[in-house]
Amino acid sequence: MNAIEFRKVTKKFGGFTANRDLSFTVKKGSIHGLIGENGAGKSTAMKVLFGIHPADSGEILIEDRVVRITNPVHAMRMGIGMVHQHFMLAGPETVLDNIILGHEPGRVFVGRARAEAELRAIAKTYGLDFDRWDRPVSELSVGEQQRVEILKLLYQKSKVLILDEPTAVLTPQEVKDLFGNLVRLKEEGKTIILISHKLKEVLGYCDEITVIRRGETVGSRKASETDDSELARMMVGRDVSFTYQGERKVFANMSDAKPVVRVSRLSITSTTEPLREVSFELKPGEILGVAGVQGNGQSTLLRALSHPSLHAKNWSGEYLLNGRDQSGSDPIVLRNAGVGLVPEDRLSEGLLLNQDMTENFLLGQHEDPRYSKGGFLLRTKARAVTESKIKEFDIRPPYPTVWTGRMSGGNQQKLVIARALDPGPSVLYVAHPTRGVDVGAIEKIHDAIVQERNRGKAILLFSSELDELMDLCDRMLVFYNGGIRAEFARPDFDPWAIGRVMGGGDR
């Protein structure tokens, strides 16, 4: 029997078609992978199923009967449950209360004793090792919180569990535990849909895999009858994954060059994502990649390098920029010392969304003598330069008065990069330059980064896309548990070896 079937489901947002004639079936009691690149339409498909965005046309069948799902509550009653990427858990409340919310056994009172007994039985049935019902959720690790989310679905008697990118925030050990749990759930008769873009995971644990590209179904394969290269081809739509085609200038005597950035034994503890004894050098004319599973110290490193004064209290180690100590500097000082910054999340850290491009172009440059004089801004000048950047980077719509909040991700990112390059920095800290960016813009952004390298700039590139790093970098540092676990150099980028190190193993 099929647990879920999509028949020619189409979902549009304005003029944009997120899902077009999407069709696939999920067998009951199986783990089904739904894979595709960022923005391919996987999450939209699941939101359609979960009733968050009802479909515009097409049919959805649950256990072979056509249904119309118009809201999440409706979906839940039909036995569909979803673990969102951002957990729906209230930190200060207990595990038990979070799980039973909305489905409390009592009439007036909560009925915690009954609920707990019931939950213990559920946990036992599905082999979920869990025994911390009265702890506040905020005290749990991310992996445990995810288990709470799964328990919530089981408590609501969900038959189909949708997990949206469940491993993005987990440590490798937690990933292993999660899949162990999922297999057990399958054995007990539950159906699991796994949204992912990690081929290795879906190949390892799914029974069947459906590939989505640009909102359409490319095809479904049994995991036992396919391999990663076929899936990759289906996902990307061509034989090899996208690689940078431009010229890479070869610099002579790289090993003799003086490093622009020298970091030695940099530690930042007492934070949620600590950094432990990190040392490296960054030379002009190279792109040094920073790889690792999210949460292994990369974010802290970027923040430390771009805003050292914020971490002054628990800073230890040395940070030299062109030979000068920067361990207490603020972003303006660093910028004057030649640092350009493309922050991790352009929406929350990079842009003023309700301001136009000129105002955004001024952010961080507001004290540059080219754009301000005697405490007042030279807006006319700033606007003229913004206009020239719009042309140079092909930013659309091409008007400096457009609010950045109304621009697409790719164009926003181009503006952020244009701003970072404007003062002619000698070193660039670039994080996730193509995250949430449309394919067309990716090429331009990659080109801009490599051009800067060819001009002799030193670039530190943070990315969660291994392909991107392998494509652009000269060297790569792999982070694990707050430290550098291994270093790889072009052309010896072996994705499997890097992946092993990212997971805490050896190359």
Binding site: P72, V73, M76, M88, L89, A90, G91, P92, E93, D97, N98, L101, G102, H103, E104, G106, V108, F109, V110
Partner: protein, 291 residues
């Protein structure tokens, strides 16, 4: 010794704390549901006024109590309409309701009693003796039980802490917020009523004189928890009592303690606690936000 302590300090403290405790618990429920309640002051004022008016005309403090609660409820529902339906900023709208409420007693007292903001004195036999004290005890216990042990309490907490989680479990966040707002109106109205027909014998101009804000401060100091909030109210009640008791008392030197210094104590304490206990006075996460 114990008896004088009780009759000189404990009982009077409980008495002056009564309006604060009602209002603060109302504020706690409202803020727990995710809606900022700056308007406690105005609700108390209107509740005090209508309680005095109705007690005066019916000679029954119980009807006065009901009238105070209903008046508070009406005002809070108006507030709910602007912030939940019309999406007005909660702080701005709350401030507006406070101003609005300040105008109501003088406006109506002019029509009814030809006075600018006071009501005729109610004879002693028509006033409460100690009933509000027991009512207050009951409301405190009920609030604590509701908060910790009932579905209602659990859901209202989630409405303020993580509205999306509540919504995704199939329960209307807006419904819970309406309930929280209504409770704040009923309880703060009740608190106001005890000001005019329990602690005093008529309504006088601007009678609440900042108690609504003190109640709000108590909610914050009590970290949005029922018993802690009540404790903070008792502390503020004690300072209010001390202010009365220390009038003209010479503690050191040859000057009496200026009553102003005691007057500002609750506010000073609130600021100090807010400043010192950083991170520990964590408000509900969804407070002031959308659904």
């Amino acid at each position: 010794m114990l008896e004088t302590l009780f009759s000189n300090w404990i009982l009077p403290t409980l008495r002056v704390s009564t309006p604060l405790i009602f209002a603060a618990l109302g504020g706690m429920w409202c803020e727990r549901s995710g809606v900022i309640q700056i308007g406690l002051e105005g609700i108390m004022l209107v509740g005090a006024f209508f309680a005095a008016v109705v007690t005066h005309s019916t000679q029954s403090p119980w009807w006065g109590l009901v009238a105070g609660m209903l008046a508070g409820l009406m005002l809070s529902l108006g507030y709910g309409f602007t912030v939940l339906k019309l999406k007005a900023n909660q702080i701005v709208s709350g401030t507006a309701f406070n101003l609005f409420a300040m105008g109501i007693p003088p406006f109506l007292s002019m029509i009814w009693f030809d006075s600018t903001g006071s009501t005729p004195v109610i004879p002693g036999e028509s006033l409460f003796r100690s009933a509000p004290l027991f009512l207050m005890g009951a409301v405190v216990i009920a609030s604590a039980i509701l908060y910790h042990h009932t579905k209602f309490g659990l859901r209202i907490r989630f409405a303020g802490e993580h509205p999306k989680a509540l919504e995704s479990s199939g329960i209307s966040v807006r419904g819970k917020r309406w309930q929280g707002i209504a409770l704040s109106g009923l309880l703060a109205g009740l608190g106001g009523a005890t000001l005019s027909i329990y602690l005093a014998s008529s309504f006088s101009r601007n009678m609440s004189s900042g108690r609504g804000f003190i109640a709000l401060a108590a909610v914050i100091l009590g970290r949005w928890l029922p018993l802690q909030t009540v404790t903070a109210c008792l502390l503020f009640g004690l300072t209010e009592l001390a202010q009365i008791r220390l009038q003209g008392v010479v503690l050191w030197g040859d000057q009496a303690v200026p009553v102003q210094w005691i007057q500002i104590l609750p506010y000073l304490i609130t600021i100090l606690v807010l400043a010192l206990a950083m991170g520990r006075t964590r408000a509900p996460k969804g407070l002031g936000g959308g659904e």
